[in-house]
């Protein structure tokens, strides 16, 4: 997840990159899931031997790093489906509630959110937002996420809103659903959804066979332009447009666009302790049960390569927007097999 550029200085090297106030961990606590979405990043849904002891070991490393770096910690807890084992999730939230974590988002498919579970989750003051996913309107969504998943997700949204909770919806955009972004936004408005996030489809994991879903630069520009226009005139749902490439639409607008967070202020933790640069860039940097987070952050050759914008290739090299974009390294890797390649969906003329 890229960072909000409005709070960051322009990074020109490792030290400057570390000026960001916030560090983001996307933490996949389990691979287990009760859905089988066609485009899922996951390769496998096998149950991990995960328990609160192991999760606490990981939490210790993450929170110690936040202390050391004097960062505000922002966590997204997800899976798989993090509510497959709610007791372990609650124990983890108990642990994080009393630590130096600034805010937590729960990324869930929503299907297991009963009233009792919501009431329990409401007790956690640091749990800021519930992020669910929809892939378009009913027919499109259910083709991807499964029969009745659209209605089940809307039920979950309504339930969360009845409890006064903040809800965001993530839509992964590709050729299959690009025309449903604004219609879905209008539907979400009817359900009082607070935030609407769109992110580019990346063909990996289960979605690796769906390469034809990847939008062309022109198609991405069209979708992003529509989202930006909606953003300018509508407060709810609020489009969250802190993503790479958005800056091309209006480099002066601090509310859109973001520099790629890889090597900057984010890491992804997998259920077995593997650390990825980003969930969408599935290259293992190391494992927290074998080495330290510091070792990974300070010595990973991949992170150092990406920190240096001079290594970026094609259009991304010497691009005037390097300080506020750098392109999506995960899309480059998935489409071109090279995380340093130019962002294949960038529409900027050279």
């Amino acid at each position: 997840m890229p960072s909000d550029k409005s709070n960051s200085k322009i990074p020109t090297g490792f030290e400057e990159l570390n000026y960001d106030e916030e560090f983001y961990f996307q933490w996949h606590i389990t691979n287990e899931c009760n859905l089988r979405c066609k485009h899922c990043y996951h390769e496998s849904y096998l149950k991990e031997d995960i328990n609160i002891s192991k999760l606490t070991q990981i939490a210790d490393q993450l929170c110690n790093a936040l202390d050391k770096w004097k960062k505000k910690g922002s966590f997204s807890i997800t899976g798989g489906e993090p509510l497959m084992n709610p007791e372990i999730l609650f124990q983890l939230l108990d642990n994080l509630e009393n630590r130096n974590v600034d805010k937590i988002d729960l990324l869930t498919n929503g299907t297991l959110l009963t009233d009792n579970i919501i009431l329990k989750l409401k007790e956690y003051k640091k749990l800021r937002r519930f992020q669910l996913s929809l892939e378009g309107l009913r027919a499109t969504n259910d083709k991807i996420r499964g029969v009745n998943s659209y209605d089940r997700t809307l039920d979950a949204i309504d339930n969360l809103k009845r409890h006064g909770l903040v809800v965001s919806i993530m839509m992964t955009i590709g050729r299959h659903n690009k025309d449903e972004v604004i219609p879905l936004a209008d539907e979400l408005a009817k359900h009082d959804v607070d935030v609407f996030i769109i992110d580019r489809f990346i063909p990996e994991g289960q979605g690796s066979a769906l390469a034809d879903w990847v939008l062309s630069p022109g198609e991405i520009r069209e979708v992003y332009t529509k989202a930006y226009e909606y953003f300018k005139k509508t407060l709810k749902p609020r489009f969250l447009l802190y993503r790479t490439l958005f800056c091309l639409l209006n480099p002066e607008d601090p509310h859109i666009g973001a520099i790629c967070s890889i090597g900057n202020n984010a890491l992804t933790i997998m259920p077995n302790g593997d650390v990825l640069p980003c969930r969408r860039l599935p290259i293992v940097l190391g494992n927290l049960f074998e080495t330290t987070l510091y070792d990974i952050w300070y010595t990973s050759p991949l992170l150092w390569e990406i920190r240096n914008p001079g290594n970026l290739k094609g259009k991304c090299n010497n691009c005037e927007y390097i300080p506020i974009c750098r392109g999506c390294r995960a899309v480059a890797y998935a489409v071109k097999g090279d995380y340093l390649a130019e962002d294949p969906q960038c529409w900027k003329e050279t």
Binding site: T12, Y294, W304, P309
Partner: protein, 89 residues
């Protein structure tokens, strides 16, 4: 004679893109920005070395007057030891 060696938990990095030099402790998370001479000294200490060894090697790598560099090297080594970057043998 006292010998010095880089702490096993310390990693050195020359960020060539910005010509910056760092020492990272992968245990504690401490990180230190170095100048080129400091980086060179610590690089020498991948194997244990005495002060005389260091000054001699430093004089070979960087054109300096051995006498002039002696005092600064001692100070740098003391500072590095205090911060857990190097250890005495």
């Amino acid at each position: 004679m006292k010998k010095y060696i880089l702490n096993k938990q310390v990693r050195l990095k020359h960020d060539e893109a910005y010509d910056k030099f760092y020492a990272f402790c992968i245990d504690t998370g401490d990180h230190f920005t170095l100048n080129k001479t400091g980086f060179t000294i610590l690089s020498i200490l991948n194997e244990e070395k005495s002060l005389d060894d260091i000054v001699t090697l430093l004089s070979e790598e960087i054109i300096v007057d051995e006498k002039a560099v002696f005092k600064d090297t001692i100070h740098f080594l003391e500072l590095s030891e205090k911060n857990g970057i190097i250890a005495y043998m």
